[in-house]
Structure formats: structure tokens, C-alpha cells
Amino acid sequence: MSETQPEQNLPAQAAAPASQPVFARTEGMWSRGSGDTSGYGGLTRELVMPGRSEGPFGEPFDGIHARALELIPALADARVLVDRGELTIYVPREQLLDVVRQFRDDAHLRFEVCVSVSGVHYPQEKGAELHAVYHLLSYTHNRRVRLEVSCPEEDPHIPSVVATYPMVDYHEREAWDMFGIVFDGHPSLTRILMPDDWKGHPQRKDYPLGGVDVEYKGAKVPAPDNRRDYS
């Protein structure tokens, strides 16, 4: 036991390469200022996003990426990431409509289905706070690819891909409802889960969890923690 190095008793620290920007630091087990009684209060972690990958990515990703560049030369500068065996292409929003149409129609790509559109909110990424993530699936080739599009909070507009993938109608409505991303060209971009007259977009990171008064026809129901005095 005498040879045991002290650092072996510490948790492994993943060193972040310089290319990966640290977007947040957390302290303790719970980072949001809650009363932390876990004993891990001294824990400090740096949160990094996976950066970008350089080719070759291995098949089938190389094939997909090469074909995409061939069809849409404007994607040449686009960030590509292969992480945990999944390919993500970061598409500028101006190119999105062109990209999805080619990805659906080209015989070598043939992504017939957009399985899901997810909204994400990164308040730390200045100028690209809101992301829409498109999960594409090709039945023909049995493979998947992910497209990620970002827009700033001040100008939350992304073109709608409903014309190409009709199945994303409700997904885009949900991303509008929960994150406030405006999908230009959507046939009826209305709230889908929250009431029509709701104010705010609940899944943004700065939206509070609970503590929101509910208003209905002029009557106000206070949030549960304000309903009575427990003192």
C-alpha cells in the first residue's frame, strides 16, 4: 500500500483540450444554489461541449459527409462531429432547406424520415443560444444522421422543413412552444402543449421550475409555494 500514489484516490479528471470551449462550471453535486447536503460541496467540474471532428470519420459517415459536400458545396466549412458513434452536421440556417431536400431526395443519402426535432437552449453560447436538432433516418440504407441548426435569441428564426418532412409539423410546434424558436414557413405555428395565451417558453434554461402563477380567464392561481403561509 505504501506505493499508492495520492492521486489514485482522487476521481479521474478529464482534461479538456484547448479546442473545446468550457461553457459552464459547476460546484458541488447540484449546481443551482440548492442546499447541498451530499458532502460533495467541494466538487468543481468544467462542462465542455465536444468540439469538431476532422475526417476520416469511418464508414458510413465518410460516405454521407462526402456526398453531402458534393451536393451542397456551401457545407464545406460546416462543423462536423462524430461522437459516440453518431454523426452530427452543423448546418447554417440559410442552407437548411436545401440540405434537407437533398438529404431526402438523393439516392445515396435517402433520409426518408425526420424522426424528431428537438429544441435546445444554451444560454452560454452567445449569438447561437437556441438550437434545433433534426434526427434523420434512412430506411433504405438503415442509418442515421443528425443535423443541428442554431439561431440567436434576438432573432429566433429557422426555416420550417415541413414542406420536405411533413411529419415534423408537431415537433416544430413543440420547439416553438417550449423554446420560442420561430419556424418560418410552418403551416400553423401555434402552441401545442401550453395554452394559447401562455406567456414565455418553459423549457428555456432561464425559465423557472415551478413558482409560476397560473392565470385563467382573469382569475389567478398562485404557485404552490405561495399558496399558504407555513410559518
Binding site: 447540484w30 440548492s34 459516440r84 423549457q203 380567464k217 382573469g218
Partner: protein, 230 residues
């Protein structure tokens, strides 16, 4: 002014725009309502179906635009069952998250847990560290959950066409499976049994013998369904 329609919009809040005409649910003589509609020449009626209509299986609201008896447009309100699970889990640890995802679909909770845990394991890079025994137990409980879930589908399907007994026997068989899952995890449903890295606990001592009695029971009773349905 008739009793079933009002020119003053009593439903509008103080800040809402007033509608020019609202319909009330006080009832009235059907021929009066029909003749009044004929005079008005306005054939389109907006019907608010739900949010708690008995045939909707869960809370669904449909806004129907009707031309006579033909539905010309429909707008579903699907948000009544939304519970903000994603938002809640921003404030939880990976392990605590299982408690939430198991409630996403209460007839197939173990599948929700399994896909969530597989994703978390992939994110943390610990997929290969999951013990083989835990993986096998995961598959075992998922298969049992699948049978239980299909029994609910079949039973309620029978109920829909008037075969109520199919429902009662299907729920009886399902309860046998839930008994096993309760012995395993402590809960009939919403088990939170599959956890990132494995499962919450090993099979109980009498687990496999209990499972064999469940399977014997199912083998005996599942053939009844064809008789009930055909």
C-alpha cells in the same frame, strides 16, 4: 333572446376580444335551435370535445369545426398530460431521472427506464461496464412488461367492442406479472428499477420460482383469449 345563445360574450376575460355570439349549454328545444340556425344561415358550428371526453383514453381536447355532421377541420389539444419531465430533470441527478422517466408511459415503464439508462450510459461512456447479469435481467423484465402492456392493449380493445370479459381476464393476467415485478422492485408500476449502470437490485431469492408460476399461469390462461374474441 333565446336561452341557448347569447350575443354578449360571457366567457371572455376582461382583456380578451369579445366574440359576436356564443352558444350556451342550457339546452332547449331542438327544433328552436335548428330553426334559429337555419335563419342565421351559418352552418359551421365549432364543437369543443373534451378535455375529458370518456372515449378519449387520457385527456384529449378536440376542437371540431362541423358543417352539419361533417367534420371540416380539427385541432387537437394534446398538452393536458404534459408533466414537464424534461424541465424537472434539469434539476436532478442521472439516477434520480429514472424516477421521472418511468412515469412517461405507465403501461410500459421499464422500457422508458431502459432507453433512458442506455442513453445515460452512452453519454458517460460506461456502456461496457454494465454487468452482463444486469443486462439479462433488464431484458427479462422488459419482456414481462411487454406481455403486460400487450394484455392491456388487448383487454381494452376487447372492451371497446363490448367484450368486457376480455378486459377483466387480461387485467387478471397482467396483475400476475405485476406481482412478480412488485416482488422484484417493490412497486407494481413506476418501478424505477433499471438504473444507469445496471439495475437497482438482484432477483429476490424466490424470484425464478415465482416467475415459473407466473409463466404456468399465462400458459394456462392465454388460450382463452381466442375463444373470447372469436
Amino acid at each position: 333572446m333565446s336561452t341557448h345563445a347569447a350575443t354578449e360574450d360571457v366567457f371572455a376575460g376582461s382583456e380578451d376580444d369579445k366574440a359576436d355570439r356564443v352558444y350556451l349549454a342550457q339546452g332547449g328545444d331542438w327544433s328552436d335551435i335548428a330553426s334559429e340556425q337555419a335563419e342565421r344561415g351559418d352552418e359551421t358550428i365549432v364543437v369543443n370535445m373534451g378535455p375529458q371526453h370518456p372515449s378519449t383514453h387520457g385527456v384529449l381536447r378536440l376542437l371540431l369545426e362541423m358543417d352539419g355532421e361533417t367534420v371540416t377541420s380539427i385541432r387537437p389539444g394534446i398538452g393536458f398530460l404534459h408533466t414537464g419531465i424534461e424541465k424537472n430533470m434539469e434539476y436532478k441527478t442521472w439516477t434520480q431521472g429514472v424516477t421521472y422517466v418511468t412515469r412517461m408511459d405507465y403501461v410500459a415503464p421499464l422500457f422508458n427506464e431502459a432507453v433512458y439508462c442506455l442513453a445515460v450510459e452512452k453519454l458517460l461512456g460506461i456502456t461496457d461496464d454494465v454487468p452482463e447479469r444486469a443486462s439479462i435481467i433488464r431484458v427479462l423484465v422488459m419482456e414481462l412488461n411487454r406481455i403486460a402492456s400487450h394484455l392491456v392493449a388487448m383487454g381494452t380493445g376487447g372492451m371497446e367492442i363490448g367484450a368486457l370479459t376480455v378486459m377483466t381476464v387480461a387485467f387478471r393476467e397482467r396483475e400476475m406479472i405485476l406481482d412478480f415485478l412488485e416482488g422484484l422492485s417493490g412497486l407494481r408500476m413506476n418501478h424505477a428499477y433499471i438504473r444507469p449502470g445496471g439495475v437497482a437490485n438482484d432477483l429476490p431469492e424466490d424470484g425464478l420460482s415465482h416467475l415459473r408460476t407466473v409463466i404456468d399461469w399465462l400458459k394456462k390462461h392465454l388460450p382463452e383469449y381466442a375463444i373470447f374474441c372469436n
